[in-house]
Subunit: 114 residues, 2 copies
Amino acid sequence: MEQYQEQLNGIFHALADPTRRAVIGRLGKGPASISDLAKPFDMALPSFMKHIHLLEDSGLIRTAKQGRVRTCVIEKKQFAAVETWLDAQRAIWEGRTDRLEKFVTAIQEQEDIK
Amino acid sequence: MEQYQEQLNGIFHALADPTRRAVIGRLGKGPASISDLAKPFDMALPSFMKHIHLLEDSGLIRTAKQGRVRTCVIEKKQFAAVETWLDAQRAIWEGRTDRLEKFVTAIQEQEDIK
């Protein structure tokens, strides 16, 4: 459960910035190089790289270097953690605690396996 | 659009903390006083109040004082902003840009009315 909480901390923190959300939006269309991603932003490269590193740390994107070019790719499956959390909230609102219990058990079992 | 971005900044920032997510989870079951909400946390009241203020600023909860007791209530409709953003990402992934354009137009019209 602890690991899931830390994953959510990282994801929500990553999404709490308009530049990072714009990068996510751009990468949703397909992979892109850092220099292409940086173009629309009026920002020094080191500042932009901080956003990229934070997105990478959150697991929402992956990056890979080929020669001189570092390419970024969106990691769609990481968004499932947010959807699972929202689903859990909705389950609480609707009193569907049986479903919530299953969800908590599933998370715990997942972490027991790790 | 600017206002929607600021709303998302506030919401995602509010959700990037396990104490604040736990408070949201508790309030999903029904309204609660600050002192009841604070009980499960090993935290000084001023620190806990910072979390409450941040949640209130994000619009995810409302608080109201009756006599000496301040009661907190979840603001479920605020979560729709997160769902809308996630839907927009999915629309990009699936190339449903027509739907995305409608979404952007709807957001802009909403803000023109304000």
